[in-house]
Amino acid sequence: MTTNKIEDVLRDASVSVLETMFFADITAAIEGATHVDPVTCVIDCKGAETGTFTVAVDRPALHILCCAFFGEDEAGPASQEWEMICELTNMLAGSTLSAYVPEHFSQLSSPSICGLDRHLETCSNKDQASEFALVSLSIEGGLLSVACTLRTTR
């Protein structure tokens, strides 16, 4: 547990989603670990909490998650992997918000693929947000990191 509630919630949600829906084995990322050839996705939220979630996954790890999610021995085309990371991002954001603000719902935008710079931007905007969290996890194939910046409107 940390003293940052949103970080704890984000970490718990991330682990729960990855283990339950993607059957992933997860460990804490080594300090200082950096992404290698990541695919990145962004989703915005508004309502009880307004802000942004970005998820970055190293491409080999994304490939493995995709196979696990679809129950196939080999992942399909890249479009299927993009579809899956969008769904993953949607689930991470939704699960985190539901746990963080259980009384009220926040509306999520449609997730979209973006560049790593967008993920780094989310991290660098932390000083402008009420709440910020960054969780980095090591999964088979590489690194997965989730960043969120939130501004309470309730």
Partner: protein, 132 residues
């Protein structure tokens, strides 16, 4: 063996595939699995197809899950089909909203095949009680 036909309503193809797969991992006797990308497509499908359970997302284009469940409740036949909402949103506000519109069950993502099965069994058990 009573095979149960199912309708999955979700704009995410990935999620429809996952639900289909999760259902196959349960002990439920699943018959035909119909799919729709939004509430309107689902309503049109139900004009010609009979199903025993509907799984519905909330956030969908064209017609979202809240409007879809509300439209089902207006039809004498369709309102009898139990709807299980499947959503990342597990806030009390949303659950209460969907329940007030007529949804009978709610599964929050992430979920396991076991949780899926438990909810379906509960709903079908309650539905058989209502019929007696």
């Amino acid at each position: 063996m009573h095979m149960r036909d199912i309708l999955i309503v979700d704009d995410s193809r990935a999620m429809r595939n996952f639900l289909r797969r999760a259902l196959s991992m349960t002990s439920l006797e699943i018959g035909v699995v119909h799919e729709a990308e939004n509430g309107l497509e689902a309503l049109n499908l139900l004009d010609n197809q009979s199903v025993e359970v509907i799984f519905s997302d909330i956030n969908m284009p064209v017609m979202d899950g809240a409007v879809f469940v509300g439209e089902l409740a207006k039809n004498e036949v369709k309102r009898k089909i139990p709807v299980i909402v499947v959503s990342t949103d597990s806030s009390m506000e949303r659950k209460n909203q969907m329940q007030s519109l007529g949804a009978k069950g709610y599964i929050a993502k992430p979920f396991s095949p076991e949780q899926l099965e438990q909810e379906v069994v509960r709903l079908l058990w309650e539905a058989s009680d209502d019929d007696e």
